[in-house]
């Protein structure tokens, strides 16, 4: 079966790899490109652990055909930190104990980042809505909501 060459921008850097026929973006990122930050949870678009952004909009990478991101910008949780400096959201997740097992965290961070990029001062309802496609089985969501709000507040002050 013929593989398809795919050139795209991952977290600001141009990348190229081969996708298997019908391969989803999650598998392509993890297997083909080596970005292990998006997680496989359900494989059917329910849990949000595989959330990435494509041209700035959140997508479920397990339901995204790898071919469809050719020439587009993909961002994952691995692109949040700058060197050793964590993103404000990552800092806030640590300070607010917003991760327990951590499996949902990359997806939560990407959904939260997409929210703050378009709405720097979200209400609590905005945050609840923004992470409504991400399931967490540990924290009960409250620390996550608090973390996103505190990251927004911190960014607003700087």
């Amino acid at each position: 079966m013929a593989k398809t060459p795919i050139v795209f921008v991952l977290n600001g850097a141009e990348r190229a790899s081969f996708a298997n026929p019908g391969e989803n973006l999650l598998e392509f990122l993890r297997r083909g490109v080596g970005d292990l930050s998006p997680k496989y949870g359900c494989g059917q678009g329910t849990c949000g652990a595989c959330t990435v952004t494509v041209d700035g909009a959140t997508h479920l990478s397990c339901l995204t055909l790898a071919e469809s991101v050719a020439g587009r910008r993909v961002e994952t949780a691995a692109g949040l930190a700058t060197g050793a400096t964590l993103h404000a959201l990552q800092e806030a997740f640590m300070e607010n104990f917003a991760a327990q097992c951590g499996y949902c965290t990359p997806g939560m961070l990407v959904s939260a980042k997409a929210l703050l990029d378009r709405n720097p001062s979200p209400s609590r309802e905005d945050v609840v809505e923004a992470i409504s496609g991400n399931i967490c089985r540990c924290t009960g969501y409250e620390p996550i909501i608090e973390a996103v709000l505190s990251a927004a507040a911190r960014r607003g002050r700087t």
Binding site: P21, G22, Q44, G48, A57, L63, A114, S132
Partner: protein, 268 residues
């Protein structure tokens, strides 16, 4: 097991490339589930035709390209009547991906957007078919064979209060339908003329509630009319049992939710 992915510049080319071994993919939210499970065709056919993502307003209607996403609907300033419906579909990620055309093919309990389109009397332009667009109800009955959808023509409600949508789910803000209801009740001189009411998750596909429509037509939307409509809510419907609700439960609550929706419309 997928052996090839074919991307075509025009929908016409994509249509010619279809066959019994192929499945057409738009947003991917339905098809990729089957692809991931390894239970689908051997070829994926796609199209990057720009016409698929166009939204064109005409006098009293709007033509929505089949590839327009739920998020595009929710963000469009002239489609505020459809925005609450689009926002009821999935979570944010799904809405960035899921298309209007794909929603017509969503199996139970999905397909809430198609419920609204059915109540609005939408018509469907099928790729490669000239002549008049097909009524959505026909397309939904025939969806295994209908072909590729090019666009959907949607009449716009004359008054904002003429159309309303309700989705009942167990989880908020993102939950799958126990049922959904859409009602388009144009009024002339206080009387309903040409009522259209549709239910989702109350049968194998979105279904029109003909008995409810007959009760509403020619009446004013008062308490007595609403009560009679609620009594006949499930006539002709065939709700399934699934993990969300039993047939019995859906039949019990359909009239209650219809009453709430109609009361909301009566309050304006």
């Amino acid at each position: 097991m997928i052996e090839a992915v074919e991307t075509h510049r025009t929908l016409a080319d994509a249509q010619r490339a279809m066959g019994s071994d192929a499945i057409f993919m738009a947003g991917g939210t339905l098809v990729m589930r089957d692809v991931n499970a390894g239970v689908t065709a051997t070829r994926i056919v796609r199209s990057t035709d720009p016409a698929l993502t166009e939204i064109r307003l005409s006098g009293d209607g709007v033509t929505i390209g089949a590839g327009v996403t739920m998020d595009m609907i929710a963000a469009h300033r002239d489609l505020t009547f459809l925005a609450p419906v689009a926002r009821a579909v999935g979570g944010p990620q799904i809405r960035n991906m899921a298309t209007v055309g794909g929603n017509l093919f969503a199996p139970h309990p999905y397909g809430d957007f198609a419920v609204a389109l059915l109540a609005l009397g939408a018509r469907v332009n099928v790729a490669g078919q000239s002549g008049a667009p097909r009524p959505l109800a026909d397309v939904l009955r025939d969806r295994a064979r209908v072909g590729l959808i090019a666009s959907i023509q949607v009449p716009r409600p004359q008054a904002p209060g003429d159309f309303a949508f309700l989705k009942a789910s167990r989880i908020k803000p993102k939950g799958v339908s126990v049922l959904s209801i859409a009602a388009h009740l144009p009024r002339q001189g206080g009387r309903i003329r040409g009522a259209r009411v549709a239910f989702g998750a109350m049968g194998p596909m979105p279904l029109q509630a003909s008995a409810v429509e007959r009760v509403l037509d020619g009446q004013s939307l008062d308490a007595a009319t609403i009560a009679r409509a609620a009594q006949v809510a499930v006539e002709g419907l065939d709700p399934p049992t699934d993990a969300l609700a039993t047939t019995w439960y859906r039949r019990e609550v359909a009239g209650v939710h219809l009453k709430r929706l109609l009361e909301r419309m009566a309050r304006g």
